[in-house]
C-alpha cells in the first residue's frame, strides 16, 4: 500500500519520558547547550523524513512469541553530537501500521543502556594479539 501524504505521528508516554531522561542525564548541563540544540534539530529532521518514508529504517527482530498483528517494529539510529561514545549511539524504537499509515514513537534509548562492552583490558589484549599474529 502506498500513500501520497505523510504518515500520522503518535507519541507514547514512554517515548516522552525516555527522551526527556536522555536529554536531562546527558545534555542537561549548560555546557552541552549547543550539542543539545543540534541533537533536537536532528531528531525533528529525522522524524519529518520518517513520516514521508516510514520504511526507511531497519526492522527490529521481535522477542520470541511476540505478535505485532498489522504493526511493524523498526528502529531509528543516529549519533548525538558531543557525547561519550556509547552514550552517543541514540536509538528510537517505533511502530508503523501500513494499513492506517500511522507511526508511533515508542521508546528512546542510547546504546550505553543495553551495552555488552568487553573491558578495556580485553579489547586491548585482543588487539595486541591480533596485531602480533598478523606481523608474524
Amino acid at each position: 500500500m502506498s500513500w501520497s501524504k505523510p504518515a500520522r505521528l503518535c507519541i507514547t508516554k514512554r517515548f516522552e519520558e525516555t527522551l526527556e531522561r536522555i536529554k536531562t542525564e546527558h545534555l542537561g548541563d549548560r555546557r552541552w547547550a549547543r550539542a543539545r540544540e543540534k541533537f533536537e534539530e536532528r531528531l525533528v529532521r529525522v522524524v519529518e523524513a520518517l513520516l514521508n518514508d516510514p520504511f526507511a529504517h531497519p526492522m527490529e527482530p521481535l522477542p520470541r512469541g511476540m505478535d505485532l498483528k498489522e504493526w511493524q517494529l523498526r528502529k531509528i539510529r543516529f549519533d548525538i553530537p558531543g557525547m561519550n561514545w556509547t552514550d552517543r549511539k541514540f536509538r528510537v524504537l517505533y511502530f508503523y501500521n501500513p494499513q492506517t499509515h500511522t507511526v508511533v514513537l515508542a521508546r528512546a534509548y542510547t546504546h550505553a543502556e543495553f551495552e555488552g562492552r568487553p573491558s578495556d583490558e580485553e579489547i586491548r589484549a585482543a588487539y595486541d594479539e591480533a596485531r602480533l599474529a598478523s606481523s608474524s
Binding site: L73, T86, H111, R117, P118, E122
Partner: protein, 160 residues
C-alpha cells in the same frame, strides 16, 4: 556464515585499523576493505545466530575498539594523516575514503545492535513497547510535526 574466525580477525581487529594507522592505504585497498566490511555487516545482521561464540567475541571487540584512544593517530602521526588527506583530495580519492568510513560505521552499528538484542533488559524494553502500542496500554497520542518539535525542544507535553 561465510567468514571463518581467522577471516574475521583479518577483517576486523587488525586490518582495518592498520590500514589507516600504519601506512598510507591505496584506493584499491580502501575499496576492497569497504566491500569486506559491507559483507560483514550483512552477515552480522542476517546470520548472527549462526556465528560461533569465539567469532562473536572478536566482532564485539572490533565494534567497541573503534573508540579506543590507542587506535587513533598519535599527534606525531597527524602530519602524515593530513598529507594523506590532501593527496586524496587532489587525486579525487575522497569518495573511496568516505565509502570506507561509511562501511566501517555500518559494520559497527550492525554489531552493536546485535549486542543490544542479546541483553535481557533490551528484550524486556522491546516487550514493554509492544505491550504499550500493540497491546493498547499506551497507543500514543497524535500530534503534528510542529507539536513534536515543541515537545523535543521544551519537553512541555510531559507536563500537560
Amino acid at each position: 556464515m561465510g567468514a571463518s574466525v581467522a577471516n574475521l580477525e583479518e577483517l576486523t581487529s587488525v586490518r582495518t585499523v592498520e590500514l589507516l594507522k600504519h601506512h598510507t592505504p591505496q584506493v584499491s585497498e580502501l575499496l576492497e576493505q569497504a566491500r569486506n566490511l559491507q559483507r560483514l555487516a550483512r552477515q552480522v545482521e542476517t546470520g548472527w545466530g549462526q556465528i560461533p561464540a569465539e567469532a562473536k567475541i572478536i566482532l564485539k571487540d572490533f565494534g567497541y575498539s573503534l573508540n579506543q584512544s590507542y587506535l587513533r593517530p598519535n599527534p606525531w602521526q597527524m602530519p602524515r594523516v593530513i598529507s594523506f588527506l590532501i593527496k586524496a583530495v587532489i587525486k579525487g580519492e575522497i569518495p573511496a575514503l568516505l565509502k570506507f568510513g561509511n562501511a566501517l560505521l555500518e559494520a559497527q552499528e550492525a554489531i552493536l545492535c546485535q549486542v543490544e538484542r542479546e541483553n535481557s533488559s533490551y528484550q524486556a524494553a522491546v516487550a514493554d513497547a509492544i505491550d504499550d502500542v500493540v497491546g493498547g496500554r499506551d497507543p500514543g497520542r497524535e500530534m503534528s510535526l510542529e507539536e513534536f518539535r515543541e515537545l523535543v525542544k521544551t519537553g512541555k507535553a510531559l507536563h500537560h
